[in-house]
């Protein structure tokens, strides 16, 4: 596998499964796969789509920026 990953986790999803991010980090580290894994403070499940009830403009913009950074890096 040659993927690079961006995993943006909502704060309330993280609260339900706080160990998940650690399992993800460990798994991708062991597999030598670059993965940016972050819990986005103050966000609720589904905060990125523009018309979402829980849309969080500031954090959605951050995630979008990280996505563009990943694409620029991975597809250079």
């Amino acid at each position: 596998m040659k993927a690079q990953l961006l995993i943006a986790i909502a704060e309330n999803d993280d609260q339900k499964q706080p160990e998940a991010k650690n399992v993800l980090r460990e798994s991708f580290t062991n597999a030598n796969i670059p993965a940016e894994i972050e819990v986005y403070a103050g966000t609720l499940h589904g905060w990125c789509p523009l018309d979402a009830k829980v849309y969080n403009a500031e954090q959605a913009e951050k995630a979008w920026g990280r996505m563009l950074a990943l694409f620029a890096r991975a597809l250079a």
Partner: protein, 211 residues
């Protein structure tokens, strides 16, 4: 937005902020995309069109948008449970303006053409919730493989898509239930073309699956 726990959190959030999805929609679409999306992208001129893609199970409707000139990395967007709708077309267009050829699909094409949910669909309405959850439940690893092959093949045949190795299609995953299935089902033959679909999170046994 895919499960009951998340829904309860949404209610809390709404009460806290006093912002409804409808209000936000009116705000964002009224003011236009650029005023809402503050990250400054180097916007290029784009061309977008509704398209139909033959799959092993039927014909999928989708929206394909790409820069007017040149060849670019292909991006495949699998929307959340509310499906293909204006917000996702806007997001696809924004990504295209950054120099990608973007296909955003109606993942529920087996049931009906987009839009597959009402405008400003409210997940707090029991009937809406039941319908959307039922649609989501029709997707599984088998349907995901059928669809992924067809969508990637579509991208591969577009003059605006660069098929070189470092421009292989990407997948953006927005929501778990309706879109994680392709992550869990990729076979090795496809992985070389789908670097971003080659790993997944299994919610049931909480393991990372790497193919």
């Amino acid at each position: 937005m895919c499960d009951n726990d998340s829904f309860d959190d949404m209610l809390e959030y709404q009460l806290r902020t006093g912002v409804s999805r409808r209000q936000f929609g009116a705000l964002s679409f009224g003011l236009g995309l650029t005023s809402v999306l503050s990250v400054v992208d180097a916007a290029v001129e784009t061309v977008g069109a509704e398209v139909e893609i033959k799959t092993g199970d039927g014909t999928a409707d989708a929206y394909f948008v790409h820069p007017s000139k040149g060849k670019h990395a292909g991006v495949l967007i699998w929307p959340d449970i509310f499906g293909l709708r204006p917000a996702f077309k806007q997001m696809a267009t924004r990504l295209a303006e950054s120099g990608y050829s973007v296909l955003v699909v109606n993942q529920f094409y087996r049931i009906k053409k987009a839009p597959t949910s009402e405008e400003h669909a409210d997940f707090s309405d029991p009937e809406t919730r039941k319908v959307l959850s039922g649609m989501s439940a029709t997707l599984n690893p088998d349907t995901a493989m059928v669809d992924a092959k067809a969508f990637i093949a579509f991208l591969d045949h577009q003059p605006s898509v660069d098929k070189k190795r470092k421009s292989a299609p990407l997948v953006i995953v927005w929501a778990v239930r309706s879109s994680c299935v392709p992550l869990l089902s990729c076979q090795s033959a496809l992985v070389q073309r789908l670097p971003f679909m080659a790993a997944g999170w299994s919610p049931t046994n909480q393991k990372v699956l790497i193919f």
